[in-house]
């Protein structure tokens, strides 16, 4: 815990911990990564920009940020946005101390931790945060590069190595446009599109090397099933990974036989994924779509 303690003007504060992404292979997306890195290049004369990633859920925005942090070799601090975030939540919180000699502990949030350590602060789902809660970012993301915390009673300046990035789902921006003072500071606004078919095939193959034997056939079958259900609407990487993951679980269950079918530790015992497993996975995953009101064939 001591490693995560620092002091701001002689006030001891606890830092948030950086996130270390799981090491999985990452496919393509060079163009978006280049754009983010281009935005982050900067110095005292030319401030680094703070990009905003916009895209559908499950499309890989977070993975892109993890990859960028890895490339830069900087600690990544993630703040999860939601509707109840207040301005102070972005900066600092207080809790009863575990240390008998202290009454309270200040805990600086991921944003401030990144500012102090010269890391990357990633605000996920920024579109869900109310406009007024984002007010502290105004002074941080322009040439002032500081924020004022009422709770700490301090002005905190950002380390020169500090970088900022945010992401939002397209639909959140639809309903809750970012206020102008933030919009003008968070730029470039980079759109993350659905990956193409080839890219997605590579994602599936690299994520599930167990499919090696008949991966081409299974991936083709996946596309046939997807197109039957959704037409030209592309799947997101998350959809694809979940479907294959679930289909593999079904295959494991089949392989385990009736006696062990309910055990949760049978994962990975089978590498015999069959098209029928994929079909069952599709069946289960897209049952929920039936809730959508159908276009009437007749009033």
């Amino acid at each position: 815990m001591r490693d995560y303690m620092t002091s701001i003007n002689r006030k001891s504060v606890l830092l948030s911990r950086p996130y270390h992404a799981m090491a999985t292979s990452f496919e393509d997306r060079e163009e978006v990564i280049q754009k983010i890195l281009a935005a982050w290049i900067g110095d005292a004369d030319r401030l680094p920009l703070s990009p905003l990633l916009i895209g559908e859920p499950g499309i890989g925005k977070n993975r892109i940020v993890y990859e960028c942090a890895k490339i830069c070799g900087k600690p990544l601090f993630i703040f999860q946005g939601h509707e109840d975030v207040t301005a102070e939540d972005l900066m600092c919180a207080v809790r009863f101390s575990d240390d008998p000699e202290r009454k309270m502990d200040y805990i600086v949030q991921p944003l401030v931790s990144a500012m102090i350590q010269g890391g990357i602060c990633f605000i996920d789902e920024i579109g869900k945060i109310r406009g007024r809660a984002l007010a502290p970012l105004a002074s941080l993301l322009d040439e002032r590069r500081y924020i004022d915390s009422n709770l700490l009673g301090e002005r905190i300046f950002a380390h020169p190595g500090f970088r900022f990035i945010a992401a939002t789902n397209t639909t959140d921006l639809d309903a809750n446009a970012l206020p102008d003072f933030i919009r003008s500071r968070i730029c470039p606004a980079i759109r993350v599109e659905y990956p193409d078919r080839e890219h997605l095939n590579r994602v599936i193959r690299s994520r599930f090397p167990i499919l090696k034997k008949n991966s081409v056939k299974l991936v083709e079958h996946f596309w046939t099933l997807w197109q039957d259900k959704h037409g030209d609407l592309p799947p997101s990487p998350r959809d694809s990974i979940y479907i294959f993951g679930y289909a593999l679980n079904l295959a494991d269950r089949d392989a385990a036989g009736d006696d062990h079918a309910n055990h949760l530790d049978i994962c990975g015992i089978s590498n015999d994924l069959q098209p029928r497993h994929l079909e069952s996975a599709f069946e289960t995953f897209f049952q929920t779509d039936k809730r959508r009101p159908e276009w009437p064939t007749h009033p």
């Binding site: 280049q34 102008d180 470039p188 009033p299």
Partner: protein
């Protein structure tokens, strides 16, 4: 720039090679220099194209007035389209399986399936770009009147070119071109498509060897990626000289001459069109010996700087005079530095000295306002593009509206550039670049030429009632199930955050029950459906295909008010409103391609078919004239725009609405956002948007909607069957036998369209169909 070209000597003959970045002006300049100088002037020219293709290019260049003693500029952008029948050899098994699976021969399987499954493209396109070294080499050969040989294979499958290596972009004039080639040829070789290029390189080498046997000096240009392999093969004695058929008199039949749309053409020009313009201006013909170096005047960085200056001037100076642009201008002034810095950094990461148009426009889109992006695009794309009028009505190749991966193009009919055209999958030769139009640019010259044919006056045609029924029913369905973000008030026990204040009532209530609990108020945005909404949910905006559609335009459709007067409940009030608001009630604003060729319009030329990419509907369309009158009255003439008919023809009405209600111009926003802006002032409490699920509504729409007190609801297109969506995208405007009280259509219209007049009526509820029945004194019951 090196003044000693790459030289390979064999048996007393010398080969002067220019391995090039396709379409990059530095290499075209180098070819031109070699051909112009007496000491390097070649006896023959060889290029990385098929023999027939080269002869087709040569024949066309001669027809365009290129030749010995003629100094003419090349029209830009022209191209040669050639049919392709080749599929990659490695897809043989897959092709067999596909035929087994579908039970059809390859020739019977739809092109889209062949393209998706086997990467097949049925045409290849060669752009005659003046800044390409290959085109420059052929041009020089024509000017010097020396033989030119295409030494590549004539037909090949579409190559797959990955981008694994980062290659430094060619240097400026100060650096040694030879050193650049030596440094980057190995990296470029990684871009090759092993399966296809290996055969090509062996064929090219064998033919080069034959040419070196016959001519004392040969100039050769090919892609940089092939050079290291060709160089190796030249030393390989097992590759013997090939037999070269004399094709010099071949006219190049089997090729289709086309004009390439500017949005595609920019991909095949060096950096930006202004550079090509300058190149053509400074270029000296090959027969004119001249030692002058034109490169210092062809500095892309300098040209870009002046283009940016021009764009800033026209945007900031001109817009600052217009009130409605002040907001954008102020924001862009702040963002200008960010835009330039971002662009500079992108160049740094992509190993480029100067960015090209797609890079500049994308960076601007991500940092600046739409209005600035449009000004910038217009400035960068300013160029004397060749039009069909100048070239005997040649067809135009443009990106197809149905394109998904940058290879589906449409080729318009000859002498009819405005026609919808035939879709075909195209790969570019050489290089196989994509055809995706990355920039939103309207080709003004063509827009004016592609006017509707004279004699077809829109307001004598009516919408087809099955279409009216269908789009009305689908709109009402969407209104009912559209998700609207609404604030819902909630009360919660105080847990450290007072949110929107203490809920005194709830706290007191608890206190009176003996509990000292403090409650706080909060409002949370929730996605809710309002199933009770019906006509009140209009206007409805349909975004069927978002994105750029070159040539598409807005098209308002309206009802004539003079026929409505007799149904008015209060004629005086009606006349007072109509005369003050004009004589036409706008019902629909469509956005799309007008007058497209369909089977129906072929059978009955009086039918006009429009393809809509989006539409705005102000009210249900399936009504009679009486019901339209009632709608106008019960909504107090506030739910539709009214105007004089002459304002409908040139869209000045739409511009006026935008300016009057929003202080913006139509050109300031994307067309789909414009449709929403046109809807907001005429909504009562709700606006419904139906669009693809990943469509992002411009935040400005929400801002304006909030100011008008309007809720914006969203319904995804995927909520409807695809065939219904395809049906509503085509609006047939048809003649009628009578239109009062409702449209009755002649029988031939039914036959031509293959639909009955009352088809789709069953989708609309009786309540909507009977709108206004016995309404006399029930004004409030509707809204």
């Amino acid at each position: 720039m090196a003044h000693a070209p790459i030289k390979v000597c064999r048996h007393g003959s010398e080969l002067l090679a220019v391995p090039a970045f396709h379409y990059h002006h530095l290499f075209a300049v180098e070819i031109n220099r070699i051909c112009r100088q007496q000491e390097t002037r070649p006896a023959a020219v060889a290029v990385e194209l098929g023999a027939q293709t080269v002869q087709a290019v040569k024949a066309w260049l001669k027809e365009l007035g290129q030749g010995p003693g003629c100094q003419k500029k090349l029209p830009v952008m022209i191209g040669l389209l050639k049919p392709n029948n080749m599929i990659r050899a490695s897809y043989r098994q897959k092709a067999i399986e596909l035929q087994q699976k579908t039970g059809q021969k390859l020739s019977q399987i739809p092109l889209s399936v062949l393209h998706r499954e086997l990467g097949f493209s049925n045409s290849s396109l060669l752009c005659l770009s003046p800044t390409d070294s290959i085109i420059e080499a052929i041009r020089c050969a024509v000017e010097l009147d020396i033989p030119v040989f295409g030494i590549d294979l004539e037909e090949m499958a579409c190559g797959i070119y990955q981008n694994p290596a980062m290659i430094q972009h060619p240097p400026g004039e100060a650096e040694d071109l030879r050193a650049f080639i030596n440094r980057n040829a190995a990296f470029a070789a990684h871009l090759r498509d092993e399966e296809i290029d290996t055969r090509r390189e062996i064929a090219m080498t064998a033919r080069l060897k034959a040419l070196m046997r016959d001519f004392p000096r040969v100039v050769f240009t090919c892609g940089l990626a092939h050079w290291s392999h060709i160089q190796r093969h030249l030393d390989d004695s097992s590759i013997k000289p090939a037999l070269i058929t004399d094709m010099q008199s071949h006219k190049g039949n089997g090729f289709k001459r086309v004009i390439v749309h500017p949005c595609i053409a920019v991909e095949y020009m060096a950096y930006f069109p202004a550079l090509t313009k300058k190149y053509e201006k400074l270029r000296r013909p090959a027969y004119e010996e001249n030692q002058g170096n034109i490169l210092p005047d062809l500095s892309p960085a300098y040209i870009l700087q002046s283009l940016l200056k021009k764009a800033y001037h026209s945007f900031f100076i001109n817009n600052s005079k217009k009130d409605h642009h002040r907001f954008d201008t102020a924001q862009d002034l702040q963002a200008q530095r960010q835009f330039e810095g971002y662009l500079q950094n992108l160049c740094l990461l992509r190993h480029r000295i100067v960015p090209d148009i797609p890079m500049i426009v994308t960076a601007a889109e991500e940092t600046m306002s739409n209005a600035f992006v449009q000004t910038l695009t217009k400035t960068l794309m300013a160029f004397p593009w060749v039009t069909p009028l100048r070239l005997k009505g040649l067809p135009i190749v443009a990106s197809s509206p149905r394109d998904q991966d940058g290879s589906l193009c449409s080729v318009s009919e000859e002498n009819n550039p405005a026609s919808q055209g035939i879709d075909c999958y195209i790969y570019s030769s050489p290089g196989n670049r994509r055809f995706t139009s990355q920039i939103d640019y309207t080709w003004e010259e063509m827009k004016n030429k592609a006017d509707k044919p004279a004699g077809k006056i829109d307001y004598h045609l009516y919408t087809w009632s099955p279409w009216d029924y269908l789009i009305t029913a689908m709109s009402l369905h969407a209104i009912r199930y559209a998700k609207r973000k609404q604030y819902k008030q909630t009360t919660d026990v105080f847990a450290g955050n007072v949110f929107e204040g203490i809920d005194i009532k709830a706290s007191l209530r608890e206190y009176s029950r003996g509990k000292e609990t403090i409650y706080v108020r909060d409002s949370i945005k929730k996605n809710v459906c309002d199933g009770s909404l019906n006509e009140g949910g209009f206007p409805v905006v349909w975004i069927l295909k978002p994105g750029k559609h070159p040539g598409a335009e807005f098209h308002p459709l309206s009802a004539k008010c003079d026929g409505m007067e007799k149904y008015a409940r209060n004629r005086m009030h009606f006349n007072a409103n109509v005369s003050s608001k004009s004589d036409r009630m706008v019902a629909i604003v469509g956005y799309g391609d007008l007058n497209i060729a369909t089977k129906a319009s072929e059978i009955a030329p009086s039918i006009r078919s429009d393809r809509y990419y989006g539409a705005l509907i102000y009210h249900p369309l399936c009504w009679t004239l009486r019901q339209f009158t009632i709608w106008a009255e019960v909504t107090d003439f506030h739910r539709n725009p009214y105007c004089h008919e002459n304002r409908l023809l040139n869209c000045s009405l739409l511009e006026a609405i935008m300016m009057e209600k929003h202080g913006k111009s139509i050109k300031d926003y994307d067309w789909s956002t414009v449709l929403m802006f046109l809807a907001i002032p005429y909504a009562k409490t709700n606006l419904t948007v139906i669009a693809p699920h990943d469509y992002q509504i411009d935040p400005m729409v929400f801002k304006r909607a909030k100011q008008f007190g309007i809720d914006v609801g969203f319904f995804p297109l995927s909520g409807f069957p695809q065939e219904r969506l395809e049906r509503i995208a085509i609006n047939h405007m048809v003649p009628v036998s009578s239109h009062d009280p409702e449209c009755i259509y002649p029988n031939y219209v039914e036959k031509a369209l293959g639909e009955g007049q009352t088809d789709n009526r069953e989708f609309v509820s009786e309540r909507v169909l009977n709108f206004g029945a016995g309404l006399k004194n029930q004004r409030e019951s509707y809204f």
